[in-house]
């Protein structure tokens, strides 16, 4: 079986449609919407299109779980025991079991909300974090960055379930959240153990994680303001082993991402307006 599988070779059936990142970047509607008030990004029953936004995010969570499963699974297989100890692979195998369960729970939550597999497109950028050939870097990308994002997303969904009085959503998200905290903790523990005698490799791995975290902020998707649909879950991140300094640093990174996205939207709008005036 092939080792180091690229994103493009992920197996999907005909229900799944993969989105191209360029479609979003070059969508002329993006800059226009960025200039409009479409209500609080934070999830709530009184924001416009609350149901549709929840369904869309739920589908995003579902495909994210598939990719997390694939990432952990690849780590079990891609490395020999010298690169990745057998105990680490056992942890990854346990994570695969958890992620499989999360996939099934997410499909059922999608049913509960009235959506179905493949109704929305899939972007595979999460799996890209699991493609690093160094197992330590990959742990940082998957178990600390991706699973850290999962903590933030699940906490936001759990809060939405609580606010809307939906016990099914609230409890499902709470149970999955508990698993994600464990996954991040496993990543933090293995990072420490594998780099015990190599601080320089540890620092490079953490730098890789910061790069992945910046991408996962998705230009304001995650943060600590009402402008951010997904809120940084500091308490759960602390339980997972992130230090307060790391949480502050991520919050700052998220603020910068939001601001950069705002500036890009302004520039794109100006460019579109200028183009329209010239035609």
């Amino acid at each position: 079986m092939k080792k180091m599988l690229p994103e493009s070779e992920l197996a999907r059936d005909e229900r799944f449609v993969r989105t191209k990142i360029e479609d979003r970047i070059f969508d002329p509607r993006g800059p226009k919407i960025a200039q409009r008030n479409t209500g609080p990004a934070r999830m709530g029953v009184d924001r416009p299109a609350a149901g549709e936004r929840s369904r869309s995010l739920m589908h995003g969570i579902f495909v994210g779980e598939i990719q997390a499963l694939e990432g952990a699974g690849r780590t079990c297989y891609d490395f020999d025991d010298a690169e990745a100890p057998f105990q680490l692979k056992l942890d990854m195998a346990r994570q695969c079991w958890d992620e499989s369960r999360h996939c099934e729970i997410s499909v059922k939550l999608g049913d509960h909300m009235g959506t179905e597999i493949g109704e929305y497109t899939e972007s595979t950028f999460l799996f890209a974090a699991a493609c690093n050939p160094d197992p330590v870097f990959r742990l940082c990308g998957v178990n600390r960055a991706l699973e850290g994002l999962a903590i933030d997303v699940f906490k936001s969904m759990k809060d939405f379930g609580n606010e809307s009085g939906d016990p099914i959503l609230e409890f499902c998200e709470d149970w999955m959240l508990a698993d994600e905290v464990t996954h991040v903790k496993m990543g933090s523990d293995w990072l420490r153990r594998l780099t015990e005698t190599d601080p320089e490799r540890r620092e490079r791995a953490l730098e890789f994680q910061r790069t992945v975290d910046a991408i996962f902020n998705l230009g304001g998707f995650r943060g600590e303001d009402d402008d951010n649909p997904v809120q940084l879950a500091r308490d759960f991140r602390r339980l997972a082993g992130f230090t307060e300094e790391e949480n502050d640093s991520l919050a700052e990174l998220a603020r910068r991402s939001t601001e950069e996205a705002r500036q890009m939207a302004e520039m794109a709008t100006a460019a579109l307006d200028a183009s329209a005036q010239n035609t």
Binding site: V17, T19, D23, R24, D27, P28, R29, K32, I33, R36, N37, T38, G39, P40, V45, D46, R47, P48, A49, A50, G51, E52, R53, S54, R55, S56, D111, H112, M113, G114, T115, G118, E119, Y120, T121, S164, G165, D166, P167, I168
Partner: protein, 200 residues
């Protein structure tokens, strides 16, 4: 025959065609038995994309004024492309609600921008249920979830949903009664306008 106008004409940000939308409206108007002497204006906001969806149906000076997010008509798997089947489903619901407004049963109903979220979801449920019985592929669970968000995840709300979903005849007073029954009437009023997406 109703006169139908579509705005914008032409579309510049998305691959939608006014003539195609007009044809769908004519087809759906016949399906829902919409009065042939009432003109219809449809405004599609082409800046909005999924999941920023929503639609409004009002009657102003005897004309039906419809507004819809471009995201409602967008193929969820092909960005900026028109999905005729989605347009057909949404336009049927919009025209059924507009037809309600033209009747005495809903004469006292305020404009869509002034409806509470509970009232709006209850009315939608009544319309979506009827559209399903006309043969359109409406999704019950989707509507139930939207209804529950505004009326609660309770047995009382689910029973109210079932009544609306299967109802052949509901009045504006009936919609308000259901909102009282589920407790939606007692919910705090949000500062976020229900027609926020229409506001530019």
């Amino acid at each position: 025959m109703s006169r139908i106008t579509i705005t914008p004409d032409p579309f510049t940000l998305i691959a939608y065609d006014g003539a195609e939308i007009t044809a769908i409206i004519e087809d759906v108007a016949a399906l829902v038995d919409f009065p042939r002497d009432v003109d219809i204006d449809l405004e599609v906001d082409e800046e909005l994309f999924a999941p920023l969806t929503g639609h409004l149906s009002d009657v102003v000076d005897g004309r039906v004024r419809l507004w819809i997010s471009g995201g409602n008509f967008e193929d969820s798997r092909l960005p900026r492309q028109f999905a005729p089947h989605q347009a057909r489903d949404d336009l049927a619901v919009m025209l059924l609600r507009a037809k309600d407004r033209l009747s005495d049963d809903f004469a006292a109903a305020p404009p869509d921008a002034s409806l509470s979220r509970g009232e709006r979801t209850a009315w939608d449920t009544y319309a979506v249920g009827r559209a399903g019985r006309l043969g359109l592929p409406m999704r019950r669970q989707r509507q139930l979830y939207d209804f529950r968000l505004q009326h609660g995840f309770t047995d009382i709300a689910d029973a109210a949903f079932d009544r609306l979903w299967t109802a052949e005849h509901v009045t504006w007073d009936g919609i308000r009664e259901i909102c009282k029954e589920t407790g939606a009437t007692d919910r705090d009023t949000s500062k976020i306008p229900v027609d926020l997406l229409r506001q530019k």
